[in-house]
Amino acid sequence: MLNKILYVVDNNGKNNYHYKIDEDTIIYHFSIDGSSEVKIDLVKEGVSLKYYYSNINYNNNTFSIRVNHKASNTNSELYNHGVNVFDKKLDYYVDGVVNKKTSGCVCNQENQIINIRDGKSTICPNLLIDNYDVVSNHSAYIGKFSDDKLFYLMSRGISLKEAYKLLLNGFLINSKSLDLEKVNLFLQEIDKI
């Protein structure tokens, strides 16, 4: 099945986005040191949304996203990955909302923030579900890349710097169907971390 694919790349500043989704959609959102507020309404029965948010953070920033399942049998999957490079604040507020009248929905979210140094990061995953016929999951992780992963990569001759680069690329470019040419600016930024 064909999906509508949107690429969003924002660089610094505060950004607001509002989407009304009436066909199957994938949104790739890349953010370099910016704050974003995203509102998404799933307005047509049966539509699905995949949202990939990748973020490199240098200063104090907030990302908030709210997915509102306004129609039945709608499906949302959010993958929010951030790298907090310095000792600053990075906050994620991630809301999935299913109201009483919409049933048969799937509302999932997965959130991770990697602190490269000793940044203060917060993830608030909220599932506001008012209907019994819903599948909904969330996960949140804040921490560093595990020593086991670094050891494994380095045990094959890969330097610590290269190992970080591999892990950062894998973490931030987390979809195989991505058109990398469209996010060249972001890829260059990964190299600078």
Partner: protein, 251 residues
């Protein structure tokens, strides 16, 4: 030659000593085996040699061809030719097998690996170890069965061409067919690379039927308490560790 001299090692930031006066010399082309009950320090030994972050060397030395590797980082040790086939290979989501192995090959050779040659040799190696070709594009060890993970370790061995190989319980969790494939590949590797040496850490002599060791050592309380040939391993299989260590309390 890999030489371990009077090595004492403990868990970092703890008083727990694991290896106590451990010594072993492995000449080029030799196959050595370390056997021993659970918890005597077999896997610790392999990790200490590789420079794992959880352990520290308190005394003694580890040398490759006469040169100490203790000051070297993990990747520097690998570049010297050390290779540890891990008991439980780490899963890394987002990093594909091909990307990982190609980066490792480039790091080792210090030059960019030709893509065409890389893909060709990877495809051959994948076929040799009977893995699915799609594994190239999958995340590293993610969703792999126990057998696939072990075969992937051997695949990396074939691609990276190390000189000093340590197999940490490569036979655990492998069915008999997979064990045969793994051993066939290691055997061929040793035949093609006559100056390579092998240190096998295992509980079971079955793998030794395929890989015919030169020496078998029994580890207890962090040091070698007995050495012999394949017959020693067979004796243990028959009578247990207590028969050779004289300790009735061995689990």
């Amino acid at each position: 030659m890999l030489e371990i001299k009077n090595l004492y090692a403990s868990i970092k930031d703890s008083d727990k000593k694991i290896l106590k006066n451990f010594s072993l010399k492995i000449n080029d082309g030799e196959i050595h085996v370390i056997m021993g009950p659970n918890g005597v320090g077999k896997s610790t030994l392999s990790k200490v040699i590789m420079g794992h972050y959880s352990y520290e060397v308190n005394k003694g030395d580890i040398l490759l061809d006469g040169e100490s590797i203790l000051p070297l980082t993990v990747d520097e040790r690998a570049k010297k030719g050390l290779f540890l086939c891990m008991q439980d290979p780490t899963v890394i989501e987002g990093v594909s097998n091909s990307e990982f192995i190609r980066t490792a090959m480039s790091s080792k050779s210090q030059e960019k690996v030709n893509l065409y040659k890389f893909v060709k040799s990877m495809e051959e190696a994948i076929e040799d170890v009977s893995l699915d070709k799609n594994m190239l594009h999958r995340s590293l060890n993610m969703g792999f069965s126990g057998g696939e993970k072990k075969k992937n370790e051997i695949l990396q061995l074939k691609m990276l061409q190390p000189k000093y190989i340590i197999l940490d319980e490569i036979d655990s969790g492998l069915d008999i067919d997979s064990l045969r494939i793994v051993c066939r590949n290691i055997k061929k590797y040793m035949k093609d690379n006559k100056d390579s040496s092998l240190l096998i850490i295992t509980h079971y002599p079955r793998i030794l039927e395929y890989l015919k060791p030169d020496y078998v050592h029994i580890l207890k309380d962090g040091k070698i308490v007995k050495s012999g040939d394949l017959n020693l391993a067979l004796e243990i299989e028959k009578d247990g560790y207590s028969s050779v260590t004289g300790d009735d309390n061995v689990e």
